[in-house]
């Protein structure tokens, strides 16, 4: 009896190689189907691969035209790769590990349009994005600092000028009345003529008379002198009164004349216009933007958090026929999944980027190396260069380190909406940005800093920058800023970082604001003064006329007094 099965042997030596050849031919389409299914399941939406070519010596896999549907927007791709070349270590594959010694991804593109809408697989539990309630932010409370309308201000103000004018007029009337008595006294012609007649009579009696008559005349003269002395004393008292009255009136006159200026000062103090409330304009304007980036960071952190925290547990299988695997010293230890080196080109919105990635592993402890990813773009559409670097070190899960840096050189910014709305429509028409930023996440504690320099800045605003509202003043101040810096720091917990934004734009804007505010203050005060002058022009003219009349009146009285004094002094001799 023949123990050997001839047909079986033939099938073993011919059929098996033939089967392997057939398998090699069909492996591409089979792997394509498996990959599409697995990647679609991970992505949550349809993933398409145009073709998969497998070469067995060396073992490489080439994926052409990979497109992953964006589940948020199925008409476009989340990511598309023209060609992906993977050199896989077959030796490691036999050991049950996927080790990609070299990976080349050509022309990675994001958000490209799909030829046909991709299928989206519905999740049982859809994540509901919750937005944090906006904490109260300072807004542009322009009304509180705006200048009041001049007419309103004048109508509402407690103006002292009318009272001062009235006081002067009353004082002038009183003075006139008082001086009228002096006038009447001085104009008493009979009285003064009587002195003349008496004097001449005494003189004649003295010349013609005898000694006795002369002595009598001298006695009469003495009596006359005594009376004249009394009159002269009255003149002196009246002169003093005139002077006192005039001085008093002069004070009231000055008060009336200065009252519009005093009212102006009072009104000036009733409104304030300063830039003290605008100490941190940069926070006011850029806070929203930076907070937006922080929220984005939080969103991605929540996605990668499980990878940073979960510890891979080696489970001991005790099921039937599974047994346990006894481990020996591995001459080349490798994790279950490893990409030793990868290079890729990515066409982003701003241009072509080239990147590398090393040591992307499912367990970094095995190789004791951190994963490093770098992406660099030169001569880009809007900037001279941009460079990103990501280092993920989770060798010690309790002290994981994630570092991300992003540097931009000479990025041209155009039509960047800084602040919107009707209150302060502000657009950075053009600028150049140089920025360096670094964020590190060490043991779930965030530490980040951002230094950005904006040069050749050109702000524009459709706000009337000659206006006096705060927003107009700020807009006008921005228009004069040519360069500024923004430094931001973030510290603390990842999901509740403490943000600090500092910028020299605050000083620049405040400086401009102060200059402009002083200018506006002066203009406003001048306008107010002119308005007051216009309102009190008639009264002021009246005051001047009264004062001029009083002056003249005083002079007349003084002249009359002098004339009478001279006359009386003659009689006294």
């Amino acid at each position: 009896m023949k123990m050997i099965r001839t047909k079986g042997l033939l099938s073993l030596f011919i059929g098996l190689p033939l089967l392997l050849v057939v398998l090699m031919f069909i492996s591409g389409p089979v792997v394509k189907l498996i990959l599409e299914s697995q990647l679609s399941s991970i992505n949550g939406a349809e993933v398409n691969i145009d073709a998969v070519d497998i070469s067995y010596w060396p073992f490489t896999m080439t994926l052409s035209d990979l497109q992953a549907t964006d589940k948020e927007s199925p008409e476009q791709n989340l990511i598309a790769v023209d060609k992906a070349l993977l050199a896989i270590k077959s030796e490691s594959l036999l050991k049950g590990k996927l080790v990609i010694s070299d990976m080349k991804l050509e022309n990675i593109q994001f958000s490209t349009a799909r030829k046909s809408q991709g299928e989206v697989f519905k999740n049982e539990a859809t994540e509901v994005e919750t937005t944090e309630p906006n904490s109260q932010k300072p807004g542009f409370a322009s009304g509180s600092l705006d200048l009041p309308d001049i007419n309103d201000l004048m109508n509402k103000a407690d103006l002292k000028s009318p009272a001062a004018f009235n006081a002067f007029e009353e004082q002038a009337d009183k003075t006139k009345k008082s001086w009228h008595e002096v006038e009447v006294f001085l104009d008493d012609k009979k009285k003064w003529d009587a002195y003349k007649v008496r004097y001449r009579k005494i003189k004649a009696e003295y010349k013609k008379g005898n000694t006795k008559q002369r002595l009598k005349a001298l006695k009469k003269l003495k009596s006359l002198n005594k009376e004249i002395k009394v009159e002269l004393k009255t003149f002196s008292q009246q002169r003093k009164k005139l002077k006192t009255d005039f001085n008093n009136l002069k004070q009231t006159y000055k008060a009336a004349k200065n009252s519009p200026d005093n009212d102006l000062d009072t009104m000036k103090n009733s409104y304030s216009l300063n830039s003290n409330n605008l100490e941190n304009i940069s926070r006011l304007i850029f806070d929203d933007k930076i907070t937006g980036y922080v929220s984005l960071g939080k969103k991605y952190y929540k996605k990668i958090q499980p990878f940073l925290e979960s510890e891979e547990e080696e489970s001991v299988q005790t099921e039937r026929n599974k047994g346990k695997y006894v481990l020996f010293e591995d001459s080349e230890p490798e994790p279950d999944f490893l990409i030793e080196g990868a290079s890729f080109t990515a066409r982003l919105h701003s241009g072509l980027f080239q990147g590398t990635a090393t040591d992307i592993a499912s367990n970094q402890k095995v190789q004791n190396k951190a994963s490093v990813m770098q992406l660099k773009g030169d001569k880009l559409k809007h900037s001279k260069a941009e460079e990103m670097k990501l280092v993920v070190d989770v060798r010690d899960k309790k002290a994981s380190i994630v570092k991300f840096s992003y540097d931009i050189t000479a990025r041209k910014i155009s039509d960047y909406k800084v602040a919107g709305g009707d209150t302060l429509p502000l657009v950075m028409k053009s600028a150049q940005l140089d920025m360096s930023s670094e964020i590190s996440l060490i043991n779930n504690k965030l530490k980040g800093n951002l230094d950005s320099h904006f040069t050749h800045v050109n702000f524009i605003s459709n706000k009337d920058t000659s206006g006096r509202s705060l927003s107009s003043i700020i807009a006008a101040a921005f228009l004069k800023v040519e360069r500024f810096k923004i430094d931001a720091t973030a510290n603390g917990k990842v999901l509740k970082p403490k943000l600090k934004i500092k910028s020299d734009i605050d000083n620049k804007i405040n400086k401009q604001l102060k200059v402009r505010l002083n200018q506006i203050k002066k203009e406003y005060a001048l306008e107010l003064k002119a308005k007051l002058k216009q309102r009190y022009a008639g009264q002021l003219e009246n005051v001047e006329n009264i004062m001029s009349g009083i002056n003249k009146y005083k002079k007349d009285l003084e002249d009359k007094q002098s004339a009478l004094e001279n006359k009386l002094n003659k009689y006294k001799k």
């Binding site: 009896m1 050997i4 050991k95 026929n321 599974k322 047994g323």
Partner: protein, 171 residues
Amino acid sequence: MISTISKLFRLLSSDIEPNQLSMGITLGLIAGLSPVLSLQSILVLILLISLRVNLSIFVISLGLISLVAFLADAVLITIGHSVLTMPELSVIFTDMYNTGLWRFLNFNNTVAMGSLLVSIIAAIPCYLLSHYLIVKYRSSVVEKWKRSAIFKYMQNSKLIGKVAAISDKVS
């Protein structure tokens, strides 16, 4: 189950060479004890293809051994673990561990190693014993049965012939 046992007895009573049957039983024992992907499983497959082994008895043997193999798991794991952790063999096993093909064949699995050793030890005795038992069964039980009055009656009975035919068709 009944049809399997009936099939087994029919095979044992048939004209098939005892060594083909005993080889099938032995290979079924080895495959039944081993994990799917192991060195011995591949060897069994090659032997099944290249040698004149009765496939039916192999399948029956594999099925029956698989049913009771879980009882032997503890023993297999203990044996496999003791061998794999023998310091004297660690150099060899370390070299094997660093070779992809051996790792692919799960040599460092305690069940795989334990079943391999048990298979190596049990294969020849199993072959010889099954061969002896088949020959003995045929010479004593089958021959006696063929000579018995009941067998002769049943062979001549038309009714039993029809029932047997229907039973064959159904099975």
